[in-house]
């Protein structure tokens, strides 16, 4: 059974008379341990897809099953609990709380899952260790570089051992060098068996993932534009199809 099953999911916004289909009848499976990117230009609906996959938003139509739970039927409280236990988010702007230090930021998800103080600190330090940031545990986010902040955010996303991690333009606010470092961190995590979904508008970044899904006008594009720079080679080396599942 795939980790995530989307069946005929639509998200429709209404602006007065006009109907905007941000997502239009999307069907998608994501398997356990997959490293996948969702690409598409801005306004294509990829963010909406990620929000729905990440239980931040609910679809207008269709069904979603995440780790066996029917999301579209879950209450707000369950969605919060699912976000807490099963999903990790990494954002473009890091989204660390400025008033808390790094380790406190990493502890945040565990506060809402009711982990005791001592265990919280241990696990947070372990997560920081994993992203090589343990020596900055007591720093405020503002005292860190962008790459360090993003690594702290990744540690926070991983600390509750989620089933799936969503990264929304994780390198969008970083220079290319640090961006590469973050991407290789994701690759390493993927090799450790994490399920990671990378959302980006940049095909170059998408190229690091074995599987890519392109969203265009709220629909999954049948064929990836293979002409895009460097993709054919990387896709071939990864040995997986770059074509989205129907």
């Amino acid at each position: 059974m795939p980790l995530v099953e989307l069946r005929n999911v639509s998200k429709i916004y209404r602006l007065g008379e006009e109907e905007i289909r941000a997502l239009d009848d999307v069907t998608l499976d994501i398997g356990e341990g997959e490293f996948i990117s969702i690409i598409g230009p801005s306004g294509s609906g990829k963010s909406t897809l990620m929000h729905i996959l990440g239980c931040l938003d609910s679809p207008t139509k269709g069904t979603i099953r995440l780790d066996g739970v029917m999301i579209e039927k879950a209450s707000a409280r369950h969605l919060a609990a699912i976000r807490n236990r099963k999903i990790g988010f990494v954002f473009q702007f890091f989204n660390l709380l400025p008033k808390l230090n790094v380790v406190q930021n990493v502890e945040l998800p565990m506060i809402y899952s009711g982990v005791s103080g001592k265990e919280r600190r241990q696990r947070a330090m372990a997560a920081l260790e994993a992203v090589d940031l343990a020596n900055r545990a007591k720093h405020r986010p503002s005292q860190l570089s962008g790459g360090q902040q993003q690594r702290a955010a990744i540690a926070r996303a991983l600390v509750n051992s989620p089933r799936i991690v969503f990264a929304d333009e994780p390198t969008g606010n970083l220079d290319s060098h640090t961006g590469d470092a973050i991407l290789s961190l994701f690759r390493k995590l993927s090799q450790e068996g994490r399920t990671i979904v990378l959302v980006t508008h940049d095909p170059e970044i998408a190229a690091v993932t074995p599987r890519r899904i392109e969203i265009r006008d709220g629909k999954i594009a049948i064929k990836i534009d293979l002409a895009l720079a460097g993709m054919e080679r990387r896709a071939a080396s990864a040995g997986t199809s770059a074509v989205a599942q129907p």
């Binding site: 929000h51 039927k73 707000a76 409280r77 919060a80 236990r85 709380l97 945040l108 809402y112 899952s113």
Partner: protein, 482 residues
């Protein structure tokens, strides 16, 4: 196919106490991060709470003072029967109106079982002279020895006159300390306590022997102050002159002053010496049109005090007394009742009103404090939209955000409330140091508890709306918020 393992797992829905602890800590951190802003916000609650406590302390002090005074004049069971002008429809009978006389007293003794004690009074408008000084006491009356019990007097030096003194119409008197202070000097001015028992006192020129003196009556606060002044003056006293003028001069509590300015004479003595025309001049000097003097002696009493068996039977007892006196007066209504209950009622009404108005004002200031908290919480959440979005994205449920904001508001209110309680002590001592009132404010534990509970309530009420607003934020929009 596992339909929903999460939905059934109690662990997921558990909202542990440790999370509340964390919310409180987060609230404290937030308050600490904006120290000055939080202090200003708390100030409203501090002022509200301390004014509530101070107000109730002042009212409690006044209430206690008034009740003390009520007891000092004889308690609730005392009813005074006084002469009154004849009503218009009975004017033609005025030549038959006898006024209140000893006749009535005897009739009541026989026919009014609900009356346990009777004390007739015959007032003399007297000028006292002795020791080369003059004094006009408030209350110079001829009474039976029963007046001692009736008016809660205690003879501290010498003795009260007895039935024999009354029967023989002896020229003896018992005085209060105010009379002593005026004629022989108070302990503070003289340096030692003068006990004028055995001295001669001229009442309207007629010599009387002082055979007793009452104790000094004062409110509890006066007594404490006097004792304090004594203990302080006790040590360094070199010249033996007590400089403290605190007592005697102090007339703040009028009831106690009046009680101290009492002179009791035997009833028969007054009747024979002052109502027989022998000292006509002195009586008309008092200007009382009520006490018509005649050459044969005026038997009318200026008043009659009756003590009832209990306050519970007050209406029945009054009716009984009324019936008896109506009978002896041939239906002419030339008397009236004055009960202490009116006064007690007045005290209660006053206390009630003071409490209500003071409570209202303090309540309004607490409310304003609450509005201040709400205002700052609303400002704070619109500053922290992004934080709320982040918290939601990592798994904070609506209730978690709600609790966090509410806890912040309540923590501000509780800190403000506690500070307000501490401030209220300072406020109360400040008020009592410069206010002229004689009644020391009393801070009651219940007042403290109520004020604190109100501050917490205000904190909760002020926090609910911002907390709902914060909890309802859409996480996606909150995350995008700049």
């Amino acid at each position: 196919m596992n339909p929903a393992p999460l939905a059934t797992s109690p662990e997921v829905l558990r909202h542990s106490w440790s999370q509340l602890g964390i919310s409180i800590l987060a609230g404290m951190r937030e308050i600490w991060a904006h120290k000055f802003r939080s202090l200003l916000t708390m100030l409203g609650i501090i002022l509200g709470v301390s004014s509530l406590v101070a107000m109730s302390a002042l009212v409690a002090g006044m209430e206690k003072g008034a009740k003390e005074a009520l007891v000092a004049i004889g308690g609730l069971e005392k009813v005074r029967i006084e002469p009154q002008g004849i009503p218009v429809e009975q004017r033609h009978l005025s030549d038959q109106a006898t006024g209140i006389t000893i006749n009535d007293v005897q009739a009541l003794e026989q026919s009014a079982p609900l009356v346990t004690l009777l004390s007739p009074e015959m007032r003399v408008f007297a000028t006292l002279t002795a020791n080369g000084k003059k004094f006009r006491p408030w209350n110079c009356v001829g009474v039976w020895p029963a007046a001692l019990e009736m008016n809660e007097h205690v003879v501290e030096h010498g003795r009260m006159f007895n039935e024999l003194d009354d029967e023989m119409a002896r020229s003896v008197c018992v005085i209060g300390t105010e009379t002593r202070d005026e004629l022989w000097g108070s302990p503070e001015t003289v340096g030692h306590e003068v006990i004028p028992v055995g001295e001669t006192l001229f009442i309207n020129g007629v010599p009387f022997t002082v055979i007793g003196m009452f104790q000094h009556y004062e409110s509890e606060r006066d007594r404490k102050e006097r004792l304090l002044a004594q203990s302080q003056a006790g040590q360094p006293q070199a010249g033996g002159v007590v400089r403290n003028q605190g007592r005697g001069r102090r007339r703040g509590n009028f009831v106690f002053y009046l009680k101290n300015a009492t002179v009791y004479l035997p009833l028969n003595t007054v009747w024979m010496k002052f109502r027989s025309g022998a000292s006509q001049i002195a009586i008309s000097y008092g200007g009382a049109s009520r006490t018509v003097t005649g050459t044969t002696g005026d038997p009318r009493l200026s008043g009659l005090d009756a003590k009832l068996a209990s306050v519970d039977v007050l209406p029945e007892a009054l009716q009984q007394v009324r019936n008896v006196i109506m009978c002896t007066h041939k239906g002419i209504e030339d008397f009236t009742f004055r009960t202490q209950e009116d006064w007690a009622e007045q005290i209660n009404t006053f206390v009630h009103n003071a409490r209500l108005s003071g409570g209202l004002i303090a309540g309004i200031s607490l409310l304003v404090g609450g509005i201040g908290i709400m205002n700052i919480m609303l400002a704070s959440i619109s500053e922290r939209v992004r934080e709320i979005g982040i918290r939601k994205s990592v798994g904070a449920a609506t209730i978690d955000i709600f609790t966090q904001i509410l806890v912040e508001s309540v923590v501000i209110a509780i800190l403000g409330g506690l500070t307000g309680l501490a401030t209220s002590f300072a406020l109360v001592s400040a008020i009592s140091s410069f206010s002229p009132t004689d009644n020391a404010p009393i801070i009651k534990v219940t007042a403290l508890a109520i004020a604190f509970a109100f501050s917490v309530l205000v904190g909760i009420l002020a926090g609910i709306f911002p907390a709902i607003k914060a909890a309802r934020l859409n996480p996606i929009q909150a995350l995008r918020y700049e």
